[in-house]
Assembly symmetry: C2
Homo-oligomer: 218 residues x 2
């Protein structure tokens, strides 16, 4: 199981399976056929069978998938059976929103501190138990705490500076909301969330929707 190679395309689809399986568990569904899963997820049964066959032959014809088993297996592949300590740089609206996502803690992503440059915020809390520290204390903090993920919710203009600083102090994973591409060593992973690029994709699809329709009609 551990050794099996799973393609990138399947990996990219796993969070969505994980979400639907989690919803089914909330509804106390124990088993589900690929046909029923196909209906609620709006992908073909054959796609589902191919994807989930990566997790062993537990979807037997006429018997369906064991929801909890699959949920746990996918969770393990995604590393969600582990606990991660996360810090957030930036206690603005975005940083505060991220610190308050309830789902994150449930999945093992524990926000344990937030850093901001505004002295007025220092010593305050984004929520119960999560204090806001000065960015000046970041290096000292990293030297005394095991942090797995650093989230950048600070302006693009200072993102690289703080990323470099944190990497020097052992950070290996960055969740980057700053609208810039970070330069990092090979052993550091960065996941970008570029909100304005997402809006551009929406804008593109709005602009070209009618043109595409026209083309289809031709």
């Amino acid at each position: 199981m551990e050794e099996k190679y799973i393609s990138k395309a399947v990996i990219a689809r796993l969070p969505r399976y994980y979400r639907y399986l989690g919803n089914l568990m909330d509804e106390h569904v124990e088993r589900i056929s690929s046909a029923d899963l196909s209906k609620i997820m709006k992908v073909t049964s054959s796609q589902i069978r191919q994807d989930l066959n990566n997790f062993g032959g537990f979807g037997q014809q006429g018997y369906g998938y064991n929801v909890k088993y699959l949920y746990n297996e996918i969770g393990k592949i995604l590393g969600l059976d582990q606990q991660y300590n996360m810090i957030i740089l930036g206690a603005g609206n975005l940083g505060t929103a991220l610190a308050n996502y309830q789902h994150f803690a449930n999945r093992g992503w524990n926000v344990i501190a937030v850093f901001d440059r505004d002295p007025g915020k220092h010593g305050g809390r984004v929520r119960e138990g999560v204090e806001i520290y000065s960015l000046d204390d970041l290096e000292k903090y990293l030297d005394h705490n095991r942090i797995d993920i650093a989230c950048l919710a600070i302006p693009a203009s200072v993102a690289q500076k703080y990323a470099t600083c944190m990497i020097r102090h052992g950070i290996k994973a960055i969740w980057n909301f700053a609208h810039t591409d970070l330069e990092v060593p090979e052993d550091v992973v960065v996941e970008n969330v570029h909100l304005s690029e997402s809006l551009m994709q929406l804008s593109y699809r709005m602009t070209h929707k009618n043109k595409n329709k026209d083309r289809e009609k031709d």
Copy 2:
């Protein structure tokens, strides 16, 4: 120009070109070679030449690309030469963060109203000129205002209900932060930002980084 077909893969890369060309304009760079652009964007020159050739033969050998021209052409393709009226559902930290992104207004996405269910927020402002209304007044508002994009920064449990309601009142584009897949008619475009799925991808890459390394060494 208008009629030319541009592949999905190129479209997906355009926002990044747009960002780098915008930065170059800020630095008053008028022309740039594909070699130099390759260096700062960390993609191959040949990829850049192929991608940008979609916008006419304006990158002549030894002469480089006209930065402003390319920026404007890509902007047009992405629909950024137009103005869009946007509303945000949810005046929590995320909704407030989105309402306050300065870049959005610069690119023609104008947040003009925010809706929330909390009566304590009604009549308040997320920023100068952007009032918070009651979700109960949403339908009436949509009947009297031309809205191009609705952004959902509300819980997943109520997202579909409000999406359906807004579509009934003419909304054709939804920027969805609620962690659920919306069911919408064919002529409505939805762009999802599922933050926890992004974190799962990061978690996956952290978990499997060392394993991949080991495999490469074998």
